[in-house]
Structure formats: C-alpha cells, structure tokens
Symmetry: C2
Amino acid sequence: MSEKLTARGQATRDRIVTAAAQLMFERGVAGTSTPDVRDAAGVSSSQIYHYFADKNALTMAVIEALSTFVLDRQRELLRDLTSVDGLRDWRDFIVRLQRDSGCQGGCPLGSLSSELADHDPIARKALADGFDQWQLTIRDGLRNLVDRGVLRPDTDPEYLSQAFMAALQGGLLLTQAQHSTVALEAGLTAMIERVETHRT
Amino acid sequence: MSEKLTARGQATRDRIVTAAAQLMFERGVAGTSTPDVRDAAGVSSSQIYHYFADKNALTMAVIEALSTFVLDRQRELLRDLTSVDGLRDWRDFIVRLQRDSGCQGGCPLGSLSSELADHDPIARKALADGFDQWQLTIRDGLRNLVDRGVLRPDTDPEYLSQAFMAALQGGLLLTQAQHSTVALEAGLTAMIERVETHRT
DNA sequence: GGAAAAATGGATTTGACAATCCAGTTTTAC
DNA sequence: GTAAAACTGGATTGTCAAATCCATTTTTCC
C-alpha cells in the first residue's frame, strides 16, 4: 500500500485497475478472473500481485475507482441546482446514459453491492460509503432549492434524497433486467412530482 | 425435462432446487458450486445432473422457484386493497421482512438480476417476467383503489406501479448495502405520498 | 413376479483459477 | 556509475469446480 511508486509503476497499476473495473462491471467480480485482467491490461500475472495483495485488494481498488467515476459525472448536474427542471435534466441525463449503453450494466455500485454486500463486510462498507456520498449530493441539491425559495422550508431534503436514491438504484436495476428504461423514468419522475408538492 | 418422475424423484428434485435456491440467494449463482448444492441437499453429484442438464438449467429452476416464492408472499396484501393505508401495511410488511433477515440478502430476484442479466439472455428474460408479474400485481391493487373511488380517475396505475417497483427494488438493494432500511422506507413512503396526491 | 425405466452413490476426468516463485530488466538516488 | 529498490515476464503449483461414467439399487407397470 505505502511502497514507493515510480511513474511507470503508477501507470501499470492504473492500467490494471482500469481493466479490472471494466471487466468487473461487465461480468461481476466472480465472473472476472485474474488471467482476464492480466490479458485486458496487457501485463503479466506477477504484476497484479506486485501491486495488490490478492484479488480482494484489487476489488477494493476497483470499488474506489468506480465510486469516484460514478459521482464525478453527476456532481456538476446536482450542484448548483436552481429549479425543479434541473432535476428533470439530471433524470434525462441518467436515462440517456442507460439508453446509450444498450440498457446493460446497470449501476456499477449497485451491481457490485448485490454481489459482495452479504459476504464481504469491508467491500460492503466501501460501497455503502459510495452510496452515502451520492445521496448527500442529491440532498445538497435539494437544500439548494429550499435556500433559493423554490421549495418551501417544510421540505425534508434528507428524507427525499433517500427516496431518490431508492428510485434511482431500483430504476437502474430494472433497466438492466427489462432492457427498458420505463421503470427508471417512472421512478425518478414520480419522485420529482413528489418534490413538486413542496413548491412555493 | 419431460421424463417421468416418480414421487421419490420429484421429492429429490425439489430438495435440490430448494437447497440451490437458498444458497444462490445467499451467495449468488457464481458463489454456489454444485458440490455445495449436493451437500446441502444431501444427494450425490449424479443426482443433480440426472435432473438438470447443467448448472444453467438448475439456475433457471431456481429463478422459477424464487419468483413464485416472492410473489406469493405479497399477492394477498396487494389484492383486495381497499385504502391507501393498505399500501402502508404492505410497506411495513416488506420493511419488517428485511429487518428480520438482518438487512441481508435483499431481493432474491434483484440479486440474481444484476448477476445474470447482462450475460445470460434466457435468465434475464425469466427474471424480467418475474418483475413484470410483481408490477402487475401492484398495478391491479392501485386499479382497485381507483375503482373503489379512493383515488381519482385521472390516476395512472401503470405508471405509478412502475415507479413503485423502482423504489422497492432500489430500497431493497440499499438495505443490503447500508444495513439499514432507511432508504427502503423513504422510497416507499414517498411513493405512497405521491399516490395520495390523487386521493378524492 | 419380472423386465424396463427411474433413481442413486461415488469415483473420475478435465479444465480453470488464485496465488507463488524466481530469474531478469529498468529505474532511482547518492 | 553503481548499488539498491522497483518493476517485469512467464512458468508453475495446488485447489476446486463442472460435468461424466459406470455400477448398483429401487420403483413402475403389465
């Protein structure tokens, strides 16, 4: 973990994590073998075990990478939210992303969660942290709307953001299972309508 | 598939499916080996391959079994819905179920979906069918409320039931990841409040 | 009651996977 | 420039899983 890394070493490590993240997202952790990662990253077996203690450690690095990847793409849309229409833009962005990927994959964090949560406590914690950050981003977006007077002061951003997360994750899961964004759109739209009952 | 089954054969087959369903729900499909199933069901290796062509066929039987298991427990609560409070009872039932299981496991269909949807088209279809049935059950419950005059005629049960499914599945996923039913309760409660905007 | 079909037990084969080893090369830092 | 540390390549080992085989027992049904 704390050994020195040369520029080349860092690059190799990054290539491994990137390849592993891609594969684990597509096929799941169990469905991704270290030989798969080795080939995809263009490294040799020993490289993987030079940079990571075992497959578990690699998986944790992948969770880390996927968490920041997912959040970075949304923070801009949710920060500086100035109207309820901003929520609709965010919804449309997510729906488009799913359509563009052929309704496959679902949510990187969601997929790994249902695979790892029950039997890997450390991974579960890391994934829960990812979800927390996501929910806080939504909450702050809603708070923004309250501060700006778009929503009434009796609005509960904490509660509503939790509800948004549920609709979002479920929508993504169902998109993957049904090859259709109907449930995702319905879930997010209904939540937005729920928020609108607090409009000034 | 269509060979004759004696009473004993049927019982053995059932034992295999039940054991496999339990294990696959707990550890995922990839995390469940046929030796695991063999031991849990108390049969020999050849039995499994006597009743199922391969692990894939067994997995399909498990999906079937889990689908009916999940739906049977909810149909009573959603059929004969006479008030919005009935939806709250349904929500409380689901939340209690999750709490009783220590917030583990999530939804059997949801777990299998995120694992299988992307690389097993046949399993994906079977799981999508399970979700469809579930959604239709909710839709019919809402229709019931419209027919009884509890909800206004402009209510769209199809749309709202899709949204319910999203909140439900996401809530179950997050329960598993966060070891807390907060998001599940928030998602379902917000949806119920959304439905209440259609009250007469 | 006896032949055919169904069911069972367990050993066995084949392949893939996680992880290790060791020998060689490149980079760093003094 | 040279020694130590970092990095790389690929062969190798031990384990476990999916699936098959074959020999034996039990049930069915006429």
